[in-house]
Point group: C2
Chain length 243, copies 2
């Protein structure tokens, strides 16, 4: 089975954010990610599979490596590629866990890894500033390892979020913060994760009630953003575990 | 000032592991990383700087963006690039912290991020299986954010390490492990971090005395390797803090 020229053009264009928005579609590649996708509620428009993997994906359309290669956004062509509808978000409900807000995260691997950690620790939502990398960027999807199909991703400016959750306490990580302690995270708080190079933006800093830090001993100036987030979520999980 | 053709050929070849080994050299790119480099003990052979940045690196040799572009291994050419001697390792001394062993980590971003976390938590050494990605790969250097200049990196097969530290307890992360607890990490232990896809190799699994896990609640199958390592080092830091 071959892919029509029109489809091919449309699908290869999905490497651009504007085209993903326009068509409301995104791409999922690779065996592991596609198996996770099949278990999820995300709607699959097309599922293209190589002859080698067709037994594992019997509902897929068998197609040539050459065609797969043209859609694939990876260096090593994937033998299974799905074209999916960007899922609609469920609206946020306070479940006793803090709201996680990422402020201008630019590295797709970091965002994917943060989404994966959120899923691991039982979160259902992430809020992202509008200049955060697009979550349906292929690299974010890949590094989330399937977690992106289970997390509701809301792009929203901080001010909007603030108005909506006016009585929530704002926590930021800061080098001059207090040692992180799970009791900082009372019900109704927003934890802000800053940009990889510049940290949390000044506007948000001014509004924050609590500054926390992960104690360090060495000479490293900071931790990787997704590692720092993982540590905070872990510390937090000690109290959210019961909920 | 221009770079000689012979030098250019040699330096551009440093994107290959075999050439880095042959020449005993590696490349450091970018302002932040090069500033960290200058503070370190790593020997710099050449420091090439664009005219824009020469004031910040007065000891550098000014050269054209075109020449920098030929040496740079990044998509966006760096305006400062250093050619450095691969540092000699200091030998390991037991400082009460566990030995960290990475088993076949393949993603350079993960290795760099693990090295950065080790530095943050006051470690001086990392041991890597020989099939782990080369630490002087440009992407590892970049993502370590300068920490690679402070950490001793030992490539060693697990069996060799085992013989050398025969009385050390081996800990691995495992989905059927016990909830991580800082008291698992007695003095004299080796913590093994497994490969991104396959986890800890069977040979090492068989020899491990303790299996630990990071409690999770969601549906994610696992955490990113560098995030998981960061969380374990954080939990551990609660006891190593005093040392």
């Amino acid at each position: 089975m071959s892919i029509s020229r029109t489809e091919l053009k449309k699908f290869t264009s999905l490497n651009r954010k504007s085209k993903r928005k326009e068509h409301g579609l995104f791409i999922v590649e690779g065996e592991k990610n596609c198996l996770e996708l099949l278990k999820s509620k995300v709607e699959i428009i097309k599922l293209y599979v190589s002859s080698r993997l067709i037994d594992r994906f019997p509902n897929g359309e068998e197609c040539s490596i050459n065609s797969l290669d043209r859609i694939s956004q990876l260096k090593n062509t994937s033998e299974v590629i799905a074209i999916c509808k960007t899922p609609l978000n469920e609206s946020y409900k306070n479940d006793g866990k803090p709201i996680i807000y990422v402020d201008s995260i630019s590295d797709p691997g970091n965002l994917g890894s943060i989404i994966r950690s959120l899923d691991w620790f039982g979160y259902k939502h992430i809020f992202c500033s509008k200049d955060t990398v697009d979550a349906y960027n292929n690299k974010v999807v890949m590094s989330s390892m399937g977690s992106i199909f289970r997390i509701n991703i809301h792009y929203r400016e901080f001010e909007e979020l603030r108005k909506e959750f006016i009585d929530f306490k704002i926590l930021i990580t800061s080098l001059d913060g207090e040692k992180i302690n799970s009791s900082d995270f009372v019900n109704k708080s927003i934890l802000v994760i800053g940009n990889e190079s510049n940290g949390v933006s000044d506007d948000i800093k001014k509004q924050s009630e609590t500054k926390i830090k992960i104690p360090g001993y060495g000479l490293a100036e900071s931790l990787n953003a997704s590692v720092a987030t993982g540590i905070i979520l872990y510390e937090l999980s000690k109290i959210t575990l019961q909920k």
